[in-house]
């Protein structure tokens, strides 16, 4: 059987599943359009959707809700894809986009700007520029950690050693962040803590453009690596035995994860659990661990999950929005537990 015929069989077998998987993010996105502290009627929203809306409804939906929904879609799918890559490389069901210490690196960058320099530069000149310095600091921090990991990865052969080193780097960086937190004042601490809670609503304009660019590039890169990822599923020795350049693949996949998770963290703050849960959900729904199937499914489960999280975050109403990072944890943890109980253990899914 030729490769394309096999692919046809795999895709063709589950039209209903694929249909519902495609519908899910659309459904949540549509529901999310209603979620907000200002109530609009079904008609008002539909009018805006079809470009006929005017006045406040159009303004709020177009300028506040569209960017938020698009951000949730991009961030959710990117975190999920990077989680899938990490779980595949490390052959560890609990690996996620942040296992390399990328989010810890981003936090350190932000913490240095918010907490570390407050004595040296005036507070007003810092916050004057809004979110941009924080995004830049997060990118710098994440890149630094990623470079460190890549340097080590070039020397270390064993993948488990890399995993442990990644976790160690992450812990060391978190320790530095704690020191900075300890010595910072209340206002700055609050700014930092709010950053760590994540947010989908303030990414607009060119920032959203940048996020879209990075996440699309990262996702395409992952799609280009399906063959290599599938080989890695069988173990590194297998991938090596079929003549794949292991280190180069590893470096490329780390870079992809760095771009995906790093850009999301830079613009939205750290958002947990989506990256761990979404790939498992995709494998479970599709009943296979074939990356060719699981990768597109992961894009859909990841974006659905974060859209659902955003929907839940807006549930309280009255102008109250729950921090997205707390919502994804509350959403993700029961899902993981349910999957473990359902399948006895997660690695059976891999």
């Amino acid at each position: 059987m030729s490769g394309s015929a096999m692919r046809m069989r795999k895709w063709g077998k589950r039209p209903l599943l694929w249909g519902s998987l495609f519908l899910l993010p659309l459904l949540f996105a549509f529901a999310d359009m209603y979620a907000g502290s200002v109530r609009f009627s079904f008609r008002e929203i539909t009018e805006v959707l079809f470009g006929h809306g005017t006045g406040e409804a159009a303004m709020i939906v177009q300028r506040f809700r569209y960017p938020r929904i698009l951000t949730a879609f991009l961030a959710g799918s990117s975190l999920a894809v990077s989680g899938l890559i990490m779980q595949t490389i490390f052959r560890n069901p609990l690996a996620g986009p942040y296992v390399l210490g990328i989010s810890a690196g981003a936090s350190l960058g932000v913490a240095l700007v918010v907490l570390g320099f407050h004595g040296m530069i005036a507070y007003s000149s810092l916050s004057l520029a809004g979110n941009l310095p924080l995004a830049l600091a997060a990118i710098a921090g994440a890149t630094a950690v990623l470079l460190l990991i890549l340097m080590v990865a070039a020397r270390v052969r064993d993948i488990m050693t890399l995993l442990i080193l990644g976790i160690m780097f992450g812990s060391a960086v978190s320790a530095l962040v704690s020191v900075l937190q300890y010595f910072s004042n209340e206002t700055m601490l609050k700014i930092f803590v709010i950053w760590t809670m994540g947010s989908l609503s303030h990414v607009t304009g060119w920032q959203l453009g940048l996020l879209a660019l990075f996440t699309t590039a990262g996702t395409l890169s992952a799609f280009g690596m399906t063959k290599q990822l599938n080989a890695l599923l069988m173990g590194e020795s297998f991938a090596g035995s079929v003549g794949m350049p292991l280190r180069r693949i590893r470096t490329w996949l780390f870079l992809t994860t760095g771009i995906l998770a790093g850009s999301v963290t830079a613009f939205c703050g750290p958002i947990g659990f989506i990256g761990i849960v979404a790939p498992h959900l995709a494998r479970m729904v599709m009943g296979t661990s074939d990356i060719r199937v699981v990768l597109p499914a992961t894009v859909l489960t990841g974006s659905s999950l974060l859209l659902l999280g955003d929907l839940l975050a807006h549930l309280p109403g009255q102008g109250v929005v729950l921090p997205i990072n707390a919502v994804t944890a509350l959403l993700g943890i029961p899902l993981i537990i349910w999957m473990i109980l359902h399948r006895h253990h997660l690695s059976s899914l891999m």
Partner: protein, 381 residues
């Protein structure tokens, strides 16, 4: 568990007795003194009682939240004996440490800035005189919250340290300082709902310097000016006023019973969130703020944004707000020190009449003398 309590309880009771005796509004103390209350005019967070040569200052609301404590301090001039077993502070105090720029302002009015030996947050002080003393090394930075330098505090040997209550965690600081033999007084001036109530804490500080009567005198003339300048409640044409700046998607708005809300009302404005039944800052979704305040007439107190471009950098959607389009945004940052200290939060505390005049001039320019320039506010460009 029970042995844990039996060990902790006597200690807790002891601490409660020593450092913060609960004060019921009784007239007679255990020691037999007849106590008279010096009535407050506006403030709700403290009370001052006096007996023969003794004062008792009581802080009723030291911090935000439900978990409140009542702190009492006994002050004596000369060699009066202690009432009950509570610690006694000899007044007037000669050397103090303060932990908020509002404390600096109160001491300034009392003419006691020169008693300050240490400050938490020296960078944020505006007063040039105090800044000069900081630069000359006569006033030390004592650190803040968790990283307070207790060795330095001991070394400075203050007669009293004024703490500002952030929450039950302040209790730990009080306990620690009391163990070191340094009387720690928790101040809750920032929790007052009215500008005059906040200014009245001057009397509380005055008591420690044996200057309560002159503080009362200052407050009386301040109140006369403030109340004389308030626009009547019946005023019909009130501009809609938006305040603050969002952080990420969250816009912390002062509640309808906050001091900011009171000031806006007294200056003849209608606050966007006047119906929010709280005094605390409330995290509001930016979308909701746009819904309620997008069509506001004037926008004040936009925090760290110092220009129209700065506001856009925080969130480009702020350009959709009417005050932005009409460039009617006023920030309270006209008087800033090089280190980032803002006199609005310092001198403004003891000059609420000037805050009121500034806001009146912004909301209703015709009601103010022509040619008056704003003191604490400036228009953002």
């Amino acid at each position: 568990m029970s042995s844990f309590f039996s060990r902790i309880l006597p200690f807790a009771v002891f601490l409660a007795g020593v450092t913060f005796s609960c004060s019921a509004p009784e007239k007679k103390d255990t020691s037999g003194e007849e106590w008279f209350s010096l009535e407050n005019r506006y403030a709700e967070g403290f009370r001052i009682d006096t007996a023969e040569g003794l004062w008792r200052t009581t802080v009723l609301h030291p911090w935000q939240g439900k978990d409140q404590k009542v702190f009492s301090y006994f002050l004596a001039k000369g060699r009066e004996r202690a009432a009950a077993d509570a610690p006694l502070l000899r007044i007037p105090v000669q050397r103090v440490i303060v932990t908020s720029t509002t404390h600096v302002a109160f001491l300034k009015v009392l003419g006691k800035s020169n008693t300050i030996a240490g400050i938490s947050g020296t960078d944020f002080v505006y007063d040039p005189e105090v800044r000069a003393r900081i630069a000359a090394g006569k006033i030390k930075e004592i650190g803040h919250d968790e990283s307070m330098d207790y060795e330095l505090i001991l070394h400075l040997q203050p007669d009293v340290i004024f703490l500002y209550g952030i929450g039950p965690s302040t209790l730990e600081q009080v306990t620690r300082l009391t163990r070191l033999g340094i009387p720690a007084v928790v101040v809750g001036d920032y929790l007052e709902h009215t500008p005059l109530g906040r200014a009245e804490w001057l009397r509380f500080f005055g008591a420690f310097f044996d200057e309560e009567p002159s503080a009362r005198h200052y407050l009386d003339s301040l109140a006369e000016r403030y109340e004389g300048h308030c626009l009547p409640d019946t005023l019909s044409s009130r501009p809609l006023i938006l305040t603050g700046l969002p952080w990420n998607e969250t816009w912390y708005v002062p509640g309808g019973r906050s001091l900011t809300a009171t000031l806006i009302h007294d200056a003849g404005g209608r606050y966007v969130w006047e119906d929010l039944p709280t005094a605390d800052a409330y995290p509001m979704d930016i979308e909701k703020v746009f819904h309620r305040g997008g069509h506001a007439d004037i926008w004040i107190n936009c925090g760290s944004a110092t220009s129209l471009r700065g506001i856009l950098r925080v969130d480009d959607r702020l350009a959709l707000f009417r005050p932005f389009r009409e460039k009617r945004i006023y920030n309270n940052d006209r008087r800033m020190s090089p280190g980032g200290g803002n006199d609005y939060w310092e001198g403004g505390v003891v000059h609420p009449d000037m805050l009121l005049d500034d806001l009146r001039q912004i909301f209703h320019p015709v009601t103010m003398p022509a040619g008056r320039s704003l003191v604490y506010y400036r228009q953002i460009e």
